[in-house]
Every structure is written in structure tokens, then in C-alpha cells.
């Protein structure tokens, strides 16, 4: 997928971490392109199913932030 060939899925809370990811962009902070964010309304929404299915789908890591 990327040069490191790893895949990370990030479940980001709309109110904090998703905004933080936006701000990282505004501040032009550079980070590896291995992360794909999925916006969720609250980390309370995160069912363990999502983590398991992400891992099953071949993700190397799952990041939950909120």
C-alpha cells in the first residue's frame, strides 16, 4: 500500500481527534502516509466488531482515538 507496506486504520472521534487530524494538516505536520481515517461520531460508537474486521481485512494496526 505504501512504501512501508503497512496499513493502519484510524477511527477518529468527530469532535476531537478528527479535528486534531485536520489541524495537523493546517499546521502542515508531515507524517507517514500509511494511515486511513474513518470518522465516527464518538469513540462510544466504536464496536469491537470494527476493530476485529479491520484486522481481518489485513490492517496491521488499528488506532482508536477520541
Amino acid at each position: 500500500m505504501t512504501e512501508n507496506n503497512i496499513k493502519i486504520v484510524a477511527f477518529l472521534c468527530n469532535w476531537c481527534s478528527y479535528g486534531a487530524a485536520d489541524l495537523a494538516g493546517v499546521s502542515r505536520m508531515q507524517y507517514p502516509a500509511d494511515v486511513r481515517a474513518i470518522r465516527i461520531p464518538c469513540t462510544g460508537r466504536l464496536s469491537p466488531k470494527f476493530i476485529l474486521s479491520a484486522l481481518r481485512e489485513g490492517c496491521d494496526a488499528v488506532w482508536v482515538s477520541g
Binding site: 500500500m1 505504501t2 512504501e3 496499513k7 486504520v9 468527530n14 478528527y18 479535528g19 487530524a21 485536520d22 489541524l23 495537523a24 494538516g25 493546517v26 499546521s27 502542515r28 505536520m29 508531515q30 507524517y31 507517514p32 502516509a33 486511513r36 481515517a37 474513518i38 470518522r39 465516527i40 461520531p41 464518538c42 462510544g44 460508537r45 466504536l46 464496536s47 466488531k49 470494527f50 474486521s53 479491520a54 481485512e57 489485513g58 490492517c59
Partner: protein, 1085 residues
């Protein structure tokens, strides 16, 4: 139009364009070092060389300055072209072997070492600087010398007075040959300096065209005319040439706009005190002495050091940092700011705590202060925690800072509490500067005829805290007095509420209603997805290959239409999108652009205009999450953008149109508590045109204010309270329910039903909103012999004596006050905020009755914040003696027949002092009523002290997280009358924002229960923080859980915890999120 062949493909360009322009348009990369969009091409570096076939023969031309013509054939990618470019790079590399750009190019063209003799130049004579300088309208530099002697220089090689040190030459120099230092030393006679960034407090420079800060609203760049070269020379205009939207107009003039307004709110804010005038702190001369505002930027992740704690002189990580409090506050010797700035103690504490978080526990933080003023809600706890974290507090005012030249360290000399002189060295010193009103604002106040206080703040009375002396002109925030964020937010709501009361009769007379567009029913239709990929100028397109992403999206399932936009958010694009949606009968839309947090509503509006339900939409962020953060990896960023688009397409295909429930708001308010803030709230609500029910459990209105004598501004409380009660009683819209209690509350925002009980009879009240103003009461002490002797009384008892004109008071010889009785104690670890001012006021009153009376105030920290500080000064001038005691050595009180014997260890002498007193007044704590029943009725939280917890400590001080329920007065936190009144007005104002809407729309993104699957386990009911799920009490699904969409905030907590899988979160449903996860696994190719 000119048509020609580029690398075998037919391409088109405008007449007069050069090859490089057309190549760029078609995404063909041609390297160049000397080309600049805004400058005339010069063909200097020759790297853009391409092969041209003119029909007869092939030749090499430079793409940057070769005009296109009909029928020509250009090749940019042949071996001959690469060989030619390689030779040019090799020669340039030999000339400038140390320049990183050429090293990189040499590596790219696989040149290990040049075959030519290496020189040590850094200039490739591309002439960009010369052309740019000319463009600036100056021409201060040009090529000088001939042949091998050619160089960039000023005429005669002397520092030029034509050069204005704008830095344009350095900004375009590709090799770094021209630097700001070179300009300073060789080019110019003027002194070059950075344009200080206001946002970074001058710690960093900014450009003449700038966005003030990342979150600025509007987030549009502005041109600073005072530094822009165009406004100095008439030249430049580079910005206008690079702007793809032609948005820049240098001819724009300032306009005077007349606005017809019924009321004006002044909230011009403050200016931090400038400590450069204090030579003893060396702020102006030493970079390691900085203001707290500058230090904030150092701590900020978006600041000049990226949040890395370093000092300015040598970028070393400091080991020891000191804060000096009260710089420019509580000081009438060196500046005229006699007031306390209220916020500095707390911000210094916060900075010290965060500095330790950033730098690690080894960082030594010391705060030099006079009184630690942590009088806000939960501030005292923060102070205690800071002490536990090892932050040192020195009660001392430092007089001198001596910079240690070699190291950049700073030596300070101060006298500690024991009276000893101490020398100590710090790496950095932060000056906790006070708040000031700027001269421009003072000037504005004069023009508007606004009366100011001694401290230049807008003068207001305690009973009308946001009203200026001029009718219809209101004030909010620090212009009313130094204050922190929550208090400013309270003020602003209060000012809006008071202005709203004035203008209630004309509400909505200027409102325009948008045209309603009927929604197309798409249920059951096969998804027809439209994907719009935004270039955001070059913000996205500069890194992500947008055409590639667009073409990729076209092949995704259900995608019927794809396009890219230069700026998707521009008004014309919005209109085009509406047309496209209609024309192509699209029923799901994906926009790949910036953040949904700011732009989702805009695109949803576009959907609505196109007759689509606004929830048939998904936005994915390929700017903030891709192009901006992976700018050095364009291919990876493009791949990521494709992945994100694919994920969004998979999700949007599963989106369904959602309904937003609409419900009527009953235009009736219930205010619980007939104290001052409750009455003010009721009065404002009534004045704004709403029916109010004021519930009071007692026989009298007025609450605690009945026990108070006068405000810190010497206003008689009983008198003002009387007229407020009269106002409320006489207002037809206010229904007062005396001796009434609240027995039950049902319903939710807009539709509450409350059960009121009076004399055993119950009535029900239907109301749309509720304001909780249940107050607090005075602490009844069991310490200091209270209750054992009549001469030991509380502050409220003393107020009563004043009101009753007690004849004993003038004859007293000695009166003593003890502060913090029951406050700032382990069982009540908060400051009661009002007691210092109250005792000082009462001490002054005693001194007025009998100037010879000995008055002592035994205190821990005097917290006369804001302009209350003047009272503290007056008291000292009047001869009131202040003795500080420490919490582990509290005063001792003994009762004898003739006197009260009070023993306290004097903080200056260090020995116990005995005072024979006739009267001892205990400044007792304010204790919340801790009404758990009420908290349960409205599902609102109480904190550990028993005060209600507001929606947000800073930004939502007058409302609860529960919609439709508002908060004011002492039930929130101890506060003096002026703040309680502002809070009452603020709560009413917030309530009106709901009442005025008449209807509320819920979000479509709410949870819904499938009753067939629900096992009625009750997890959702117990887990929801908003009480949205409840068991159905009737109907077919009685006993099963159901969700009230009005209360649901769409957080999905219940969905994730439902073990039966019975709950769906509309818009973020399990299948939709899983679709995104599954889409992640497919590779973009």
C-alpha cells in the same frame, strides 16, 4: 487556439503561451530552475530544454520561452533531451557543488562527480532575483561583470539605497545564494527585519499576504498594505498573477458602511501589558525574558517551536523557569494599573503545569507571586494539584533580573518570606503580564460617550453589569473589567440578552426566508453516485494527482459522474454542482476535498438545492489528511486520496435519506429559584416576550441578597433588590409561585411538563425551557468559638447589623475578620470568591463608623480580583491591618468575659500576636444546596462539591449538556451580585436562542431501535448520557426500548453496546462503517 503535438498527443494552448505552460496544463513535467509564473521567461538555466520537430528537422529549444505554434511537435522525454539536461546539470553542479538542490539533481541524473573542474560558487546565474527585483519596481540588483566574472550585484557593489530589503530576491533564489544575511550585508542600506506575526506574538515573521492564524474566520488571506511592496512601489502584483480565481484586487478601497442598529454591544477586548518599559526585568533587551503570551506560543503545538519548550537565545531546553506575577497589574508605582488582572495567577499555573508536561518532571518551575488568586470554579483544586506536582511558589516580588552574558541565563535577586535576600539563576523568565485597555479603545469610548472607570474599563453598575451609561450600548468581556473566558462568555450572552430585550418587539422583522425546494424521493432507486474531487487551487492538486483520482473514482461501483473542481466551495461551482446533480439524476454525492467539519453543511446545502436529501452525502478529506501532510510523497498521497474516495463511495452507496424530526417549542420558561439571578433571568425572559413561571420555595423573593448590605461599588443592595422584586412582580408575563416546590419533571427540550406543589395541592406546568437558579447558602461554622459567644459572628450577621444600624458597632474598639472559614479546606477545596472583598468592604464600613477602631483582617491570600483591588488599597490606607496566616497555623480564639482573645502568628514578625477583640467576623464559605432531586429531574450533573456542572467550563457556563436546561447564580459557583446578575441574564439569553426558534429540528444522525430484535436488556437505557432511550410504556412494543430522537445526540454509545444488534445509528450505521473498512482492503491501482 493553437494545436500541436506534445509527446505524441494532440494538445491545445492559447496563442502566445510558451511550451512549459501547455505542458503544465496537461500534467507533463518539465524541470526548470529559472522559471517563475509571474515573471517573463529568460531561458537562463536551460534545464527545460525539449526536442522540437518543425516539420523538417529536429532542434533543441527551452520550453520556458519558446512560444507554441500550430502543428509543431514537442518531445520532452527522449534520450537526447535527457542527455542534454544531464550535461547542463553536470556543469551547474561543477559550478556549485555545495548547493543541496544541485546535489539532488546530480543524484537524479546519476552524476557521481562532474567531469569539469569544481568551483565553489553558489549562484547559477538564473537571474530570477534580478527579474523579481525589477518586478518589485526597484531594480536594485542586476548582473554585473562579464564572462566568468559575471555575478549578481548592486551597482558598483556598494550597499544600495534603492533596495528596500523586501526579500523577494531571496524568496525566489533556487540555490540559497541570496540570503537575508546577504541582503543585509551587501545589498541594502535599510535595516531589514521580519514582519512580526501578530499571532505568534512577534516570535516569528509572516508574509505581507497572510491568514492571521490557522483557525481564523474568515479563513481568507489579507494583504497588509503597510508592508506590501505593491503599495510602496506600484510594482509586484505577483499574488494577483498566481491566484487562479482572480480574487485579488489591489484597487480595493476602505469603505465606510452605515449600519442601522437598535443596540450596540462593545466587546473590543484587552491588550496584554507591554513590559518593555520595566528596565529592571530586561524584557526589551533579553530574549530569554518573555511575556506569558509569548510563552503560550512556545507551548503551542502550532507555535514557532512546534510545542517544543526551548528558550529564544540559544534554543536550549530550559531546566529552570520562573514566572513573575503582577507585571503591569496591582502596581501604581511603575505603571498606572492599580487593578488586579484576575487571570494571570491561573494562566501562570497552567503554563507551569503544561511546561512540566512538555519538558518532563525535571523541569523546575517557580512562580513568584503576591497573592495566589485562584478564585474561579475548580481553580483552587488546580492550584493544589500544581503544588503536588512540585511547582514552587515564592511569595515575593522580584526587583531585578541580571542577564548572565555568556550563558544567556538570568540571575535574579529576591527577598523570601523569611526576609532573607536570595540570589538564584533561571534559564528563562516569564512575565505574567496584566490586561490593559488599549488607547484606541479608550478613544473609541470617548467618541461613543462611554464612561470609564479608573482602570479605563467601561463603567457599569452591579445591578446592570453589561449596560454602559449610554442607553442601548452594552458591554461584554475584558472591556468591562479584567476577566477570564467563562466570565466573558457569560457577559456576552448577558449583553445579547439585554439587547434582545430592548429589541424584542422587532424580532425577525429583518429575517429573510430561503425558498424551499421539494425533495426528490429516491427510495428504492439504484445508487447513482456523483464524485467531485476538489483541487483546492494547488492545495490538493499541488501534491495529489487530482485527474488521476477523478479517473479512478469513475470506475468505482455505482459511480455515474465524476469531475474535478478548482475550488468546490466557490459559489459558481456550487451552482454547477446543483445542475450536474439534477441533469445526471445523481442520488448520492461524494465530495473529496477538505474537512467535513467546516464544509459539510455547505455541500449539504447544495444537495438540498438540487432536491436531494442532505444525508445522501459523504465528504472525504484529501487535503488536511493527504496533500497537506504528505507533501514530499505525492504518489503515496495520491494513493491515499484514491483509498479515501473509494471508502467514501462504498459508504455513500449505503446512505439513506434521513428525516429530521421537527417539534414545537412551548414558548414558556420555568425559572427555579427566586433569588437575584433567578429573578433577573425571569425578568429578561419576560422582557424578551415569553411567559415565565418563577418558582420559589420560600415566602420571600430575593434569596441570599436579602442578607447583604452593599456591593463593592457601595450600592445599597436592599434598595436595588426592592425595585427588582417590584419589576418582577409587576411584569404581566411573570407568574410567581411562592412557597412552591418542584415534585416531578417529564419531557424534554421544548416540551417539559413539571409538577408543582404548593400547600399539598399539585399543579402541572408545561414549559419549553427551564432555568436552574437554586442558589447556595452560607456555611455555619463550628470553628473559632462560633455559637459560643455572641461576639463571634459571620459576615452575613455583620451585614445584618449594618442594615439594622446596630448602635454597638461604632463603639467597638477592636474588630477582627478571619478569612477562608470553611473554604479552601480539605472538605471544601474551593475558594468562595466573594469573602475577601466582602470582609474588606465591611472593614471599611467599620472604619467609617469609627475611624479609631482597630480593624484586623486575618487572611491566607487576599483575592480582590479586578477593580475590587482598589478596595484593598483603600482599606490599607484607612489603617486596616492585614495579617496573613498559614493553613497549618490557623488563628486561635479564646473567649473571656470582657474580650475575645485571638492569637495569630504574624507573617512579618514570625511571632504570635495576641489581639483583644470586641467583635470577630468569620468570612464563611458559600455552600451549595446540593439538590440531587432536581439534578435527577433534569438529568444534569453535580460536581463533587455539590455545584451544578455546566455544559462547558469555559464556553458553556450558562447552560447544561441537557438541551433546554439552563443555569445561573450561586448554584453554579459562588459569585458576587454583579456576576450573579450577568449570569441570570446570560441564562435567559441562552434560553431565548431556543424559544425564538419556535421549532427545533433534531439531527438525522440519531439512533433507532429495531423493536423486533430488542431483548429489553436495558443496557442502552442505563448507558446513554442524554437519557434518550427509554422503555416503551404502551403500544405494540411495550417493554422494549425506544429512542427519543430529540434527546439523542447521535454518539452511538448505545449502538456499540447493544448486544442484540438492535440499534442502528443513522448515517454511521454498522454496515456503512464496515463498508468503509472493507473498501480499505481493496488496493487502489
Amino acid at each position: 487556439m493553437v494545436t500541436f503535438k506534445l509527446n505524441g498527443k494532440q494538445v491545445q494552448g492559447e496563442d502566445g503561451q510558451y511550451i512549459i505552460h501547455v505542458a503544465e496544463k496537461y500534467g507533463v513535467e518539465i524541470p526548470t530552475l529559472c522559471h517563475h509564473k509571474a515573471l517573463e521567461p529568460a531561458g537562463m538555466c536551460r534545464i527545460c530544454t525539449v526536442e522540437l520537430f518543425d516539420g523538417r528537422r529536429t532542434k533543441f529549444v527551452t520550453a520556458c520561452n519558446y512560444p507554441i505554434w500550430e502543428g509543431m511537435e514537442v518531445k520532452t522525454d527522449t534520450d537526447a533531451v535527457h542527455q542534454g539536461r544531464k550535461l547542463i546539470v553536470e556543469m551547474l553542479y561543477a559550478r556549485c557543488p555545495e548547493v543541496p538542490l544541485l546535489q539532488k539533481l546530480a543524484k537524479q541524473y546519476k552524476i557521481k562527480a562532474p567531469r569539469f573542474k569544481k568551483e565553489d560558487d553558489t549562484c547559477i546565474l538564473c537571474g530570477l532575483c534580478v527579474r523579481m527585483c525589477e518586478k518589485m519596481g526597484n531594480a536594485a540588483i542586476s548582473f554585473a561583470g562579464r564572462g566568468t566574472e559575471m555575478r549578481i550585484d548592486t551597482p558598483f557593489g556598494i550597499q544600495s539605497d534603492v533596495c528596500m530589503a523586501c526579500g523577494a530576491c531571496a524568496s525566489v533564489c533556487p540555490t540559497g545564494h541570496i540570503t537575508l544575511a546577504k541582503i543585509k550585508e551587501e545589498f541594502t542600506k535599510t535595516h531589514p527585519s521580519l514582519i512580526p506575526s501578530e499571532y505568534e506574538m512577534g516570535l516569528q515573521g509572516r508574509k505581507p499576504v497572510y491568514v492571521p492564524y490557522a483557525q481564523a474566520v474568515p479563513n481568507t488571506p489579507a494583504i497588509d498594505r503597510s508592508v506590501c511592496m505593491h503599495f510602496k512601489t506600484g510594482g509586484c502584483k505577483v499574488c494577483a498573477e498566481v491566484c487562479q480565481m482572480d480574487a485579488i484586487d489591489h484597487m480595493m478601497k476602505d469603505e465606510v458602511v452605515d449600519i442601522d442598529a437598535g443596540a450596540v454591544v462593545l466587546s473590543p477586548g484587552f491588550e496584554p501589558f507591554d513590559p518593555s518599559k520595566f528596565d529592571n526585568y530586561g524584557y526589551a533587551s533579553h530574549p530569554n525574558v518573555m511575556t506569558a503570551m509569548e510563552f503560550e506560543r512556545i507551548l503551542s503545538a502550532s507555535g514557532p517551536t512546534g510545542g517544543h519548550l526551548t528558550r529564544m537565545s540559544d534554543h536550549k531546553e530550559p531546566k529552570k523557569v520562573a514566572w513573575f506575577q503582577c507585571v503591569g497589574s496591582r502596581d501604581q508605582n511603575r505603571c498606572d494599573n492599580k487593578y488586579c488582572s484576575s487571570v494571570c495567577c491561573m494562566y501562570a499555573l497552567k503554563e507551569a503545569v503544561i511546561a512540566k508536561e512538555h519538558a518532563g518532571d525535571d523541569l523546575e518551575c517557580a512562580i513568584f507571586y503576591m497573592d495566589m488568586r485562584t478564585h474561579g470554579k475548580d481553580f483552587e483544586r488546580y492550584y493544589n494539584r500544581a503544588k503536588d506536582q512540585g511547582i514552587r511558589f515564592e511569595r515575593s516580588r522580584v526587583h531585578t533580573v541580571v542577564p548572565q552574558d555568556v550563558t544567556g541565563d538570568l540571575k535574579i535577586t529576591y527577598t523570601n518570606e523569611a526576609g532573607k535576600n536570595i540570589n538564584e539563576t533561571f534559564d528563562m523568565i516569564v512575565l505574567s503580564v496584566g490586561l490593559e485597555i488599549s488607547p484606541e479603545i479608550i478613544d473609541m469610548a470617548k467618541k461613543l460617550g462611554i464612561e470609564l472607570t479608573d482602570g479605563n474599563f467601561a463603567k457599569t453598575s452591579s445591578f446592570a453589569p453589561v449596560e454602559t451609561n449610554r442607553k442601548g450600548v452594552f458591554v461584554a468581556g475584558a472591556f468591562q473589567g479584567p476577566k477570564d473566558i467563562p466570565q466573558s462568555v457569560v457577559d456576552s450572552s448577558a449583553a445579547a440578552g439585554e439587547a434582545g430585550a430592548m429589541l424584542a418587539t422587532v424580532r425577525n422583522t429583518l429575517t429573510r426566508v430561503p425558498e424551499e425546494i421539494p425533495e426528490t424521493n429516491i427510495v428504492g432507486e439504484r445508487p447513482r453516485i456523483g464524485v467531485f474531487v476538489c483541487k483546492c487551487g494547488t492545495n490538493i492538486a499541488g501534491v495529489v494527482n487530482v485527474p488521476e483520482v477523478r479517473d479512478y473514482a469513475a470506475d468505482l461501483p455505482y459511480v455515474e459522474y465524476c469531475s474535478d473542481n478548482l475550488y468546490s466551495c466557490s459559489q459558481d461551482t456550487q451552482e454547477t454542482m446543483t445542475q450536474i446533480i439534477k441533469a445526471n439524476k445523481l442520488n448520492r454525492i461524494v465530495v473529496a476535498a477538505c474537512t467535513p467539519k467546516t464544509h459539510e453543511p455547505l455541500f449539504q446545502e447544495t444537495l438540498i438545492n438540487a432536491g436531494l436529501n442532505k444525508y445522501l452525502f459523504e465528504m472525504t478529506n484529501i487535503r488536511n489528511h493527504a496533500s497537506w501532510v504528505h507533501k514530499d510523497a505525492p504518489e503515496l498521497a495520491t494513493q491515499k486520496a484514491k483509498d479515501l474516495v473509494r471508502m467514501a463511495v462504498s459508504k455513500v452507496a449505503l446512505m439513506e435519506p434521513l428525516d429530521e424530526a421537527e417539534l414545537q417549542v412551548k414558548p414558556v420558561a420555568m425559572v427555579i429559584g427566586g433569588g437575584i439571578s433567578g429573578m433577573v433571568s425571569a425578568k429578561n425572559l419576560a422582557e424578551q416576550g415569553y411567559e415565565v413561571h418563577l418558582i420559589e420555595k420560600d415566602k420571600v423573593l430575593g434569596g441570599q441578597a436579602n442578607n447583604l448590605y452593599q456591593t463593592f461599588q457601595d450600592e445599597n443592595i436592599a434598595q436595588k433588590l426592592g425595585s427588582l422584586i417590584k419589576d418582577v412582580q409587576e411584569n404581566d408575563r411573570v407568574n410567581i409561585h411562592m412557597e412552591t416546590t418542584l415534585e416531578n419533571v417529564d419531557g424534554f427540550v421544548g416540551n417539559f411538563t413539571s409538577e408543582l406543589k404548593k400547600d399539598e395541592s399539585s399543579t402541572t406546568l408545561a414549559h419549553g425551557v427551564a432555568v436552574i437558579a437554586t442558589g447556595a447558602h452560607g456555611y455555619t461554622p463550628d470553628e473559632y468559638c462560633y455559637g459560643k459567644d455572641d461576639r463571634v459572628i459571620t459576615s452575613l450577621d455583620l451585614d445584618k447589623k449594618f442594615m439594622e444600624k446596630d448602635t454597638v458597632l461604632p463603639s467597638l474598639q477592636t474588630a477582627v475578620f478571619i478569612q477562608c472559614v470553611g473554604s479552601r479546606e480539605p472538605e471544601r477545596p474551593y475558594c468562595s470568591r466573594v469573602c475577601c472583598t466582602h470582609s474588606i468592604d465591611n472593614a471599611l464600613e467599620l472604619k467609617t463608623l469609627n475611624p479609631d477602631m482597630n480593624v484586623f483582617i486575618l487572611y491566607r491570600d487576599i483575592r480582590t480580583y479586578g477593580e475590587r483591588e482598589y478596595k484593598y488599597q483603600q482599606a490599607r490606607e484607612a489603617g486596616v491591618i492585614f495579617i496573613r496566616y498559614s493553613v497549618d497555623q490557623k488563628p486561635m480564639v479564646e473567649v473571656s468575659d470582657t474580650k475575645l482573645l485571638i492569637t495569630v502568628t504574624d507573617h512579618v514578625l514570625g511571632v504570635p500576636v495576641q489581639i483583644d477583640a470586641d467583635l470577630l467576623t468569620l468570612a464563611t464559605a458559600i455552600v451549595p444546596n446540593k439538590d440531587e432531586k432536581l439534578a435527577n429531574f433534569f438529568k444534569v450533573p453535580l460536581n463533587e462539591d455539590g455545584f451544578f456542572v455546566e455544559r462547558h467550563a469555559k464556553l458553556g457556563p450558562s447552560e447544561f449538556a441537557t438541551d433546554g436546561v439552563f443555569l445561573c447564580g450561586l448554584a453554579h459557583y459562588p459569585k458576587p451580585i454583579d456576576e450573579a446578575i450577568a449570569h441570570g441574564q446570560a441564562a435567559a439569553s441562552r434560553a431565548v436562542t431556543l424559544l425564538a426558534k419556535e421549532t427545533v429540528h433534531t439531527s438525522g444522525n440519531v439512533a433507532k431501535i429495531d423493536p423486533m430484535k430488542c431483548s429489553a436488556c436495558g443496557v442502552c437505557v442505563s448507558i446513554c448520557p442524554y437519557s434518550a432511550p427509554a422503555f416503551e410504556t404502551q403500544g405494540r412494543f411495550e417493554g422494549k426500548a425506544g429512542i427519543n430522537p430529540v434527546l439523542c445526540k447521535g454518539c452511538g454509545l448505545c449502538v456499540a453496546s447493544c448486544r442484540s444488534g438492535a440499534i442502528h445509528l443513522k448515517g454511521f450505521d454498522t454496515n456503512q462503517i464496515l463498508a468503509q473498512i472493507f473498501a480499505l482492503n481493496e488496493e487502489a491501482v
